[in-house]
């Protein structure tokens, strides 16, 4: 864990930060209301925490943000330093109208050192892969990959996933024009795989992607979300392109595909400790199924100009549905969508009769989480103006299997509808969204990348990214300014990910027309320096055979009476994917009991894990492996 005591850049300006926050508090807007509500819920005594000023440690206190008495948030606030250039990353996302959207980054390890590389979309400029050379818990360091296979133009975003189950992450690249799948190999080598895997990249303007392993399939099902059909008459208005579903041809029995999601009713949260023994079967089957075949494509029609999509188990059924957020700017009579994936047959849209209410927004990004670990996910949907935070109506869901959602963004103060600092009070434009725990307090926070589309006068011009810190009362509190991420950039895609294996989540944001932002997490702000935050765990799942990285698996992390939930997914955000360790903040718990519900629904035995380490959980092994970053690099 970083304990370097590094001075953060904002700390010297914390008075300014505090003044800015005070202005917001005094404004009549929702953010001010959020703060005042937070005040009443957190009670009194959240002062400077200077203690008695005499004894050991008394000069330091243990309460948050001692330098800023105006800030009612009592938890730790990260100190982020923007270090893209210092880390060796010079890259921008640019281009004409087609590249007003998109601008993704994906993070994944492709050279076996378990540190995430970064692949940036470039728009009409070449995309680029940067190799992570960062030192353990040290300064970030990247170098452009010498292999240029991935340096193609027309890229809007990308998602890593091991498609052919060879243990190497492949890369699905979304483009204006033909999408491209790259087969990953040793030492960050990639080769085009469209032809060999029967994948027709099409010629659409592709802006969204998600993947899942359906029951009975050895390879993943791929969904592509397309934006405006530029060739249609009247384009762009009301001419949204259909979306696409690429299911692997053929199927084998579910017993031979333990890695795929079960289509059985596995929502019972079974306490069974028995693990499937069928991985060995899939190994023996491996030679029979060397390559996927995606020659069969299904159009998902109608399309409403998707900007993000995510396979999600909304009803805890064990079978994913496909959720799509759509941009109302171009569709006519459209709405948000949820596709039911009946096993093998043509997907069907949920409609009014199913309980799916119309929601019309400028949908830009999807972030899924499970705030109360009940197995029913919540979704943050970014838009222009209000961000939505949808929670399932459990009564309708359980009694009638109806996907009826209510919005709780207002009550949780997560609307993030206009800039929280600066003078611009026009509505915000939200893009990538991601729930993570950036201060390791065991409460999920919400990051939203923000940025004007392109000189849209009705929307905020200065539109900083959000860092909504989750509070003990479930209410979010905006701390982006104090955290040091409120830059005057136009964010798009992003990743919240630990780049240097210190358990602290860094933030990577792709900005339109300017260099990317790489915010290094230097610790938690405290007076003029930083200190360590809460405890944490990072978990990597592995299984043999199909679906090596356990896409669709669910993790249950128990500390005391608190249960947190995480799910391994491919998709969502805004044109930005990630693969690798799953991060969990543990607060003051130094131990956690972790159970895995593998993609076929089988629960693992509990793993008893100690905090502040990287752990690898392999299916059918009742013991965990610890991983340590190379100290000598």
């Amino acid at each position: 864990m970083n304990a370097s005591g590094t001075m953060r850049s904002c700390s010297s300006a914390i008075g300014k930060c505090g003044a800015a926050l005070l202005l917001i508090l005094l404004s009549a807007g929702a953010v001010a209301n959020a703060s005042s509500r937070s005040t009443s819920s957190t009670g009194t005594g959240t002062g400077t925490g200077t203690g008695t000023g005499t004894g050991t440690g008394t000069g330091t206190g243990t309460e948050s943000d001692a330098n800023n008495p105006d800030n009612q948030y009592s938890g730790d606030i990260p100190a982020y330093l923007e270090q893209a250039a210092q880390a060796g990353i010079e890259h921008r996302y640019a281009g004409p109208w087609e590249y007003f959207v998109g601008g993704g980054v994906s993070s994944f390890d492709c050279n076996g050192d378990r540190l995430p590389e970064l692949y940036f979309a470039g728009g009409n400029e070449p995309a680029a892969l940067f190799i992570n050379n960062s030192k353990l818990a040290g300064e970030l360091a990247f170098s452009a990959s010498k292999a240029e296979t991935l340096n193609i133009k027309g890229v809007l975003g990308s998602y890593p996933i091991d498609i052919n189950n060879d243990g190497f992450l492949d890369l699905v690249v979304l483009r204006v024009g033909s999408n491209q799948i790259f087969q990953g190999g040793e030492d960050c080598s990639f080769k085009p795989a469209n032809a060999s895997w029967g994948f027709d990249g099409g010629n659409a303007w592709t802006t969204a992607f998600s993947a899942t392993f359906e029951a009975g399939h050895h390879f993943p099902t791929l969904a592509f979300g397309n934006y405006v059909d530029r060739t249609a008459p009247g384009s762009p208005w009301g001419t949204c392109h259909d979306n696409e579903l690429h299911r692997p041809s053929g199927s084998i029995s579910a017993s031979k595909t333990p890695g795929s999601n079960s289509n059985s009713n596995s929502n019972s949260n079974s306490n069974s400790n028995s693990n499937s023994n069928s991985n060995s079967n899939s190994n023996s089957n491996k030679d029979d199924i060397q390559h996927p075949d995606y020659s069969n494509k299904q159009n998902l029609s109608p399309g409403y100009c998707a900007l993000s999509m995510l396979f999600t188990d909304w009803n805890k059924s064990g079978t994913d549905a496909l959720r799509i957020t759509n941009d109302r700017h171009y569709y006519r009579d459209g709405e948000e969508q949820l596709w039911r994936l009946n096993s093998g047959s043509y997907p069907r849209l949920y409609g009014r009769a199913d309980g799916w209410d119309s929601l019309v927004i400028w949908g830009m990004g999807i972030a899924e989480t499970d705030l109360n670990a009940d197995g029913y996910p919540e979704y943050a949907l970014t838009s222009m103006g209000d961000t939505k935070l949808q929670v399932l109506d459990l009564q309708q869901a359980i009694d009638e299997n109806r996907p009826a959602y209510e919005d709780m963004a207002w009550s949780r103060q997560a609307t993030a509808h206009r800039p929280y600092t600066g003078d611009d009070i026009k509505p915000s434009t939200g893009w990538h969204a991601q729930f993570e725990d950036v201060n390791n307090d065991a409460r999920l926070d919400l990051f939203i990348a923000k940025g004007n589309v392109e000189n849209m006068q009705d929307f905020a011009s200065f539109d900083p990214d959000n860092l909504l810190m989750g509070g003990a009362d479930g209410v979010f509190s905006e701390q982006g300014d104090i955290a040091g991420i409120a830059l005057d950039t136009r964010g798009r895609g992003a990743n919240v990910i630990d780049l240097n294996a210190d358990g602290l989540l860094d933030i990577v944001v792709v900005n339109r027309d300017t260099n990317v932002s790489v915010f290094r997490h230097t610790g938690m702000q405290h007076q003029d320096t930083t200190r360590a935050g809460g405890n944490w765990l990072k978990l990597e799942l592995q299984q043999a055979g199909a679906n090596r990285h356990a896409v669709g698996a669910r993790l249950s992390i128990k500390t005391g009476n608190v249960v947190q939930s995480r799910r391994v997914q491919v998709g969502g955000g805004h044109s930005s994917g990630m693969a690798g360790f799953i991060h969990v903040g543990l607060g003051v718990a130094e131990r956690a009991t972790v159970r895995v519900q593998w993609p076929d629904g089988q629960w693992s035995a509990p793993y008893k894990l100690f905090a502040n380490r990287h752990v690898i959980l392999k299916r059918d092994q009742d013991h965990a492996l610890q991983w340590f970053a190379d100290e000598t690099r």
Partner: protein, 489 residues
């Protein structure tokens, strides 16, 4: 000897507390505020929390005078019978080490089972004098405190009943554990580097101070397999405190105990930083125990003189003890009850290097060094050839299986604790054993012979050897153990 009986509280205290809560309904008070204006304290004040001597900064390396003042404050805290005016009580929080809310306040806050079960630290730690062990009547009922936290039964399915340990030499114990943890982590690091360099797995034996902790397997890709690690947690942190060996530091234990036994919540764990609530336990008081108060308690415990060897004037006892000590080694007792472990430094840094979030850590506060070498008892420590202090703890700071099918009485608990199985316990340090009866982790054995007879599991061979000795030989071992005494200050 000061002995406080918890039964003295009762309904009156609850009534007073309820009245105070009503009086405070217009706001919450800060216990820390109370100690900021000591002049407002009347001689008959019902506050118990002492005031830290002002004017000095208790950071950095304390000189003898500052250390002494700090220790005095620590002792006052240790002996303070906390009152509701100090923030005692936790009507809306459980005893759990992770801040945990109750669903509803208990009908009676004091309870000999779930707690609050003591008014002062010294209520239980008082045999043979303050800082010491506890009688059976001072047993504590250890529960994780997450579910069934208000258990009102001694049924072992709800808690593990534990006898109070003495704290003499606790600072030295923690220093030993820190050095051992450092050694183990260094071995892990070395193995990982070698595995990476050679591209082959490396089986690394884990040992520190000649105590073996099994082995680990380091792989070239940076992963390690800890299945063969023995007697220490997977993170290789030697946790030397509690019968179970699950507490990392005096600081961690102190914060736990203040909440559990007294409802005095330390800001460093129960404050708004972690809980979002300045008055987490809902008793109307905020900042009940400051970082500095915890530090003073840690300092005082760390500075307690280690137990000593009693030199009998009766030559028969001396001779018997000499024989007994030899037999003690001969039958293998000293394989776990190591007579000495070497310690490199007597500098006790607070906060320590091994604590996790929720217990003050090194980069969260200015470090203070309590140089134990400044204390008179330090002059009595001998050194080995390497110049390391020989700490005569008669322990190995390692956990062992202590019961088996035939000899099971020390495996009498139903609940595991903090990932440690029910029949596994830390080797009890035998220094001071002559002065700290009763014995066994439940304190339900009145003689040393009984507890020796109860050793099973990994101690079975030694126990059988003890059993095979004749009466005189066994008596000589008892004679030896009875020299492991605690001297009055």
């Amino acid at each position: 000897m000061k002995t406080t009986r918890v039964h003295q509280t009762g309904n009156l205290l609850v009534a007073v507390q309820a009245a105070l809560l009503l009086a405070l309904s217009h706001g919450v008070s800060s216990a820390a505020d109370s100690v900021s204006w000591p002049e407002q304290r009347s001689p008959w004040s019902e506050h118990a929390l002492p005031t830290l001597p002002g004017g000095d900064s208790y950071t950095g390396r304390l000189d003898a005078e500052s250390l002494q003042r700090f220790l005095e404050h620590g002792e006052q805290l240790f002996d303070a019978r906390f009152t509701v005016l100090d923030g005692a009580g936790r009507p809306m929080a459980t005893q759990a080490i992770i801040p945990t809310k109750r669903k509803r306040a208990p009908r009676s806050e004091f309870s000999r089972t779930a707690g609050l079960d003591a008014n002062a630290c010294s209520s239980c730690h008082n045999v043979p004098f303050i800082g010491g062990a506890g009688d059976f009547s001072a047993n504590v009922f250890v529960s994780e405190g997450f579910v069934h936290s208000d258990f009102d039964t001694t049924d072992p399915q709800f808690s593990n009943e534990r006898n109070t340990n003495h704290l003499f030499g606790a600072g030295l114990i923690e220093l030993l554990a820190r050095e051992m943890s450092r050694d183990l982590v260094q071995l892990r690091s070395t193995a990982l580097k070698l595995a990476k360099k050679t591209g082959a797995p490396v089986k690394q034996s884990l040992h520190s101070k000649q105590v073996n902790f099994g082995s680990l397997l380091a792989m070239p890709d940076g992963t390690i397999d800890t299945r063969k690690v023995q007697g220490v947690d997977q993170d290789l942190v030697v946790r030397p405190f509690s019968h179970k060996g699950v507490m990392t530091s005096l600081r961690q234990f102190t914060v736990n105990a203040l909440n559990h036994h007294h409802g005095m919540q330390a800001t460093e764990r129960f404050g708004p930083r972690w809980t979002g609530d300045a008055d987490f336990d809902g008793d109307g008081y905020t900042r009940e125990i400051s970082d500095s108060d915890v530090s003073a308690l840690v300092a005082w415990q760390a500075a307690l003189a280690p137990p000593t060897r009693f030199q009998p004037t009766d030559t028969r006892w001396t001779q018997a003890a000499t024989t007994g000590e030899a037999l003690f080694a001969q039958i293998g007792c000293d394989s776990c009850h190591r007579p000495y472990l070497p310690l490199e430094s007597l500098d006790f840094h607070d906060p320590g290097p091994l604590d996790a979030a929720g217990t003050l850590r090194e980069n969260e506060a200015d470090s203070t060094i309590y140089a134990l070498s400044l204390l008179p008892w330090a002059q009595l420590l001998t050194r080995n050839a390497e110049g390391h202090y020989r700490i005569p703890l008669f322990g190995d700071l390692k956990r062992h299986v202590i019961s088996d099918q035939q000899v099971a009485s020390l495996g009498n608990e139903l609940l595991s604790q903090r990932f440690v199985e029910r029949n596994v316990f830390m080797t009890t340090e035998l220094w001071g054993v002559a002065a700290t009866a009763p014995y066994g982790h439940r304190g339900d054995m009145t003689t040393l012979s009984q507890v020796i007879d109860a050793h099973g599991g990994q101690a079975r061979n030694s126990r059988d050897a003890w059993d095979a000795l004749d009466n005189e030989q066994r008596s000589s071992i008892i004679a030896f153990l009875k020299t492991l005494d605690i001297s009055p200050p």
